[in-house]
């Protein structure tokens, strides 16, 4: 369940803020649902989502059972240096997902 879609501008001017969008395929099970045979489906949501800019954490979100399935996150960062944006998330079952994007800072 590591599938995701990511959108980051390819090029940003130094000092400008830019938008990051990510949508993650995850059922975000609340623990309140039952399957077709009536058995409860155990709770499993994404616990924590981290975005690192050149290795440094710049955005952290703690998600829970109040967030709908397939969370869609949008946030803004400020461009400093060219480099890599890495995204990582982990759910309650311990499964990890990640995504990478490279960013070119001009000016």
């Amino acid at each position: 369940m590591a599938a995701s879609r990511l959108q980051v501008p390819a090029e940003v001017r130094r000092g400008d803020s830019f938008e990051v969008k990510i949508s993650i395929r995850h059922p975000m099970e609340t623990g309140f649902r039952v399957d077709d045979s009536g058995k409860p489906i155990p709770r499993n949501t994404i616990r924590e989502f981290t975005c690192r800019y050149n290795g440094k954490p710049v955005f952290i979100a703690r998600l829970g059972s109040g967030i709908a399935a397939n969370p869609y996150l949008r946030f803004f960062l400020t461009a400093a240096e060219s480099g890599q944006l890495s995204f990582e998330w982990v759910d309650e079952a311990g499964e990890r997902g990640d995504a990478l994007a490279s960013l070119t800072v001009v000016g």
Partner: protein, 257 residues
Amino acid sequence: MRVAALLFACWAAGAVAQTRAIPATELRSGLTFGSAELRAMQADDFANPGMLWVERGQKLWQTPAGPAGRTCASCHADPAASMKGVAARYPALDASTRRVIDLESRINACRASRQQAPRLAAESEDLLALTALVAYQSRGLPLSVTISEGTRETFEQGRGFYYAPHGQMNLSCADCHERNWGRRLLAETISQGHPNAYPAYRLEWQTMGSLGRRIRSCLFGIRAQMLPYDDPTLTALELFLAWRAAGLPIEVPGVRR
């Protein structure tokens, strides 16, 4: 002779069109009954969660399956070219079995015969992803199924099911979607019940689902026996629904309540 045949074709098409309960000018996609937020979610290709399945479908298209090690792309190359307009014609007559099949069954038939791969289960992530990918190539194109000699019987079976009362509430599909569309059913507005957005992401399901699943939800709602996914009546109803909505543009991946 050719002119006469053409005139006859126009007359025949007109005769069929006249029997539609909702005229073409009054057809409304289910999207128009949704909230502004819902419409915005479908319109934005990034916010639309259905695109997760389309992208998964793109990966599967290139992934070998079965002992032959063939991918979908081995035969069909780029889906953007080869699959354009295909979904608009389904459900359609399968030439080899002489049966009407929907897009999901077409994909599974292709897997079984060309790839010798196991069939994908109904509503499985992979089947939904491939169906969404194929139907996505027809986005914006009008639904245009063919009612011909080979499909007429199935079509009539679908029409029969549509107008027959079902379940404990003794309701037919037409009771809601033809006689009462646009009116309120508790918090919801009743739609015209068109299939042009499916497979769609439904907020109630929190996931993608096929038209078959949507129809089953309706049957559940009216306390009727739910048709199994492989029931030919379900395909017949899908054919009737596609004919009834002919001209409406495909919206896959749609987003619905």
